[in-house]
């Protein structure tokens, strides 16, 4: 699916998908349009998490902190500075990217689980500051009723804005993955020792991946401000980070679009299960367990495997 983005057949599918997504607000009621916006921005969030995780092999375990900081950055610029919200939409992700750089420099010396743990500890530090700084960030209440420009303040406007920004972000992420830089990054994931032997600066490439991931997580956070007009400290709590990692796993972290699918599944399951029962986390937990047991490459990874396997079977029969 990911490889087909630029060939003719793939392009047709993409155009069809885009047209359908553009027509959605004319067909579906408000709630579903809102839900779709949330799916898109969570998908972007999970895909930006998957950039260092699935393609860089870095244990990015506290990605939510960049998402939250991007959202808070945007919200604070809008509410405190009086600058145009459009500037805020750029400043938020840049702050997140800068945090990605700072945390990356501190964490990058460590590998695997230690990296993830130091990141969680730094992220908890950020969370604690935001949680307690009542005069600036609103503390545990967060900030509500953030005003966005009129053109994107309606639910349809917010949806189209989310769709456009997510689309551009995905395209940029895809190009990055297919660029020489992306190939080097995946090379580092598969064999860091060999990569450094042939003269690749491993740490520098990984650091860049963290900054890129931070930036796009910040973009997702900004989109949340546009769609929901609110920010709260739970946006950067570690449970959300693990949920993002699970989105990547559920969809398939070796595929480009997998995390988007995972995000869609989780948002849909949560929304519809919670209308039937209070105990949606129980259902979600059981689904995760089953996926980890039976689909270690995720849903999309499993589909890709199945599609690839079919021609081979046909050949074998001949």
């Amino acid at each position: 699916m990911a490889t087909g983005i630029l060939n003719i057949k793939g392009r047709i599918w993409w155009i069809v998908a885009l047209v359908v997504l553009c027509l959605v607000p004319f067909v579906l009621p408000r709630f579903y349009v809102y839900l779709l916006s949330i799916i898109l921005l969570f998908g972007l969030f999970a895909m930006s998490n998957n950039f260092p995780l699935g393609f860089g092999g870095i244990y990015q375990l506290h990605h939510a902190v960049f998402y939250g900081v991007g959202a808070y950055g945007t919200a604070l610029v809008i509410t405190k500075s009086g600058l145009s919200p459009w500037i805020a939409f750029i400043v938020g992700p840049l702050i997140a990217a800068f945090l990605g750089l700072v945390m990356g420099i501190i964490c990058i010396r460590l590998s695997k689980l230690y990296f993830g743990m130091l990141q969680i500890s730094l992220g908890s530090l950020v969370w604690a500051v935001v949680y307690r700084w009542y005069s600036f960030t609103g503390g545990d209440d967060g900030i509500h009723g953030i005003s966005v420009p009129d053109i994107i303040s309606s639910y349809k406007g917010a949806y189209y804005f989310t769709l456009i920004v997510t689309g551009i972000s995905l395209y940029v992420l895809y190009r990055l993955l297919k660029s020489p830089y992306g190939s080097v990054l995946q090379g580092i994931r598969d064999n860091p020792v060999r990569s450094s032997m042939i003269g690749v600066n491993v740490k520098k490439h990984q650091l860049l991946a963290l900054v890129i991931a931070g930036f796009f997580a910040g973009v997702a956070g900004t989109l949340f401000v546009v769609v929901d007009n609110t920010v709260f400290p739970d946006m950067m709590f570690w449970t959300l980070s693990l949920e993002a990692v699970i989105m990547c796993l559920l969809g398939g972290w070796l595929t480009f679009l997998g995390p988007m699918l995972g995000a869609a599944l989780i948002v849909i399951i949560r929304t519809f299960v919670s209308t039937y029962t209070l105990y949606w986390a129980l259902v979600l937990g059981i689904i995760f367990t089953l996926v980890i047991f039976f689909l270690p490459n995720g849903v999309l990874g499993w589909i890709e495997d199945a599609v690839k396997r079919k021609p081979n079977l046909a050949e074998a029969k001949e």
Partner: protein, 293 residues
């Protein structure tokens, strides 16, 4: 800032340290021997606390109830963990850490909702047993709760028992050997699977014990697992993975920086322990004491 105030905070911090040490030593044991980063450890701590509420109520809420809870709740938690280990975890030891983190996180979601189903969403409070009610005067005349003194006695006892278990008993020696080379231990004819199961159960029992001991001092509520598990993980990483004394050292740093941080800067007291972890990990990336892996 007067001396008695500081001293009081030191003792408050030390009582917190005891709880943190008990829970994180269990986590460290599991991480060191089984290499499972068990995110559900915090849920077992929460279950221990809720179990303490039920048992202490069942036995009349007095001293008897407390002692029964102290014995019964950790055992109940151990039973739950035994079922989880034999049923699911034992098939996953070979998986990579990321998968195990996610799997145990999924478990913590399930456990969280099960607690909600069994005990409901309201706050629960466990009474301090009669014999530990009241205060004793500290140096400088500040009253110090008797129950916290009991906690301060519990901490060293459990540390010594754990040390004896790991270093002086047969199962401890096998477990340490298995942590270094699991295949070799299996090759000399030891049933590694059951050694792992017992280490897992002992680790989880400690989580339950921590939950029972903390129950009279806090309001028992859903979500108490989320803050604790992160603290426990950071303590274990800070002290050195799998090292019991490292867990003690980490818990001391965490507990004291928290209680003294509140004194220095009340509003941002909670950031000090995280700051301490960051500083430790910048200078000693693999923890203060020797890690087992």
């Amino acid at each position: 800032m007067d001396v008695t105030g500081v001293l009081n905070q030191v003792f408050v911090g030390l009582s917190r340290t005891v709880i943190l040490f008990i829970v994180s030593s269990g986590l460290s044991l599991i991480l060191g021997v089984l290499r499972i980063p068990n995110v559900a450890h915090g849920s077992l701590y929460m279950i221990g606390a809720f179990m303490a509420f039920t048992l202490s109520k069942l036995f009349g809420g007095g001293d008897m109830g407390f002692w029964m809870a102290l014995i019964g709740a950790p055992l109940a938690v151990a039973l739950i963990s035994l079922v989880a280990e034999r049923g699911i975890f034992q098939y996953l030891y070979e998986r990579e850490h990321l998968m195990l983190i996610l799997l145990t996180f999924a478990f913590s979601l399930v456990f969280g909702d099960l607690v909600k189903i069994v005990w409901g969403g309201e706050y629960k409070s466990v009474p301090v047993p009669y014999m530990f009610q009241g205060f004793i005067p500290l140096i400088g005349g500040l009253p110090f709760p008797l129950y916290n003194l009991f906690l301060l006695v519990c901490g060293p006892i459990i540390a010594i028992l754990l040390w004896l278990l790991v270093n002086k008993t047969k199962i401890g020696k096998i477990a340490r050997a298995a942590a270094v080379d699991m295949e070799m231990v299996g090759a000399v004819g030891i049933n590694v699977s059951w050694v792992f199961a017992s280490v897992f159960v002992i680790g989880c029992l400690l989580a339950g014990l921590g939950g029972v001991l903390v129950a009279p001092t806090v309001s028992v509520t859903l979500g108490m697992d989320h803050t604790l598990i992160i603290e426990a993980f950071l303590i274990v990483i800070m002290g050195g993975l799998g090292n019991i004394w490292g867990a003690l050292l980490g818990a001391l740093i965490f507990g004291l920086s928290q209680s003294l941080g509140i004194l220095i800067w009340p509003q941002f007291g909670i950031i000090f322990p995280y700051l301490a972890v960051v500083i430790v990990l910048i200078f000693r990336p693999t923890g203060l004491l020797k890690a087992t892996w």
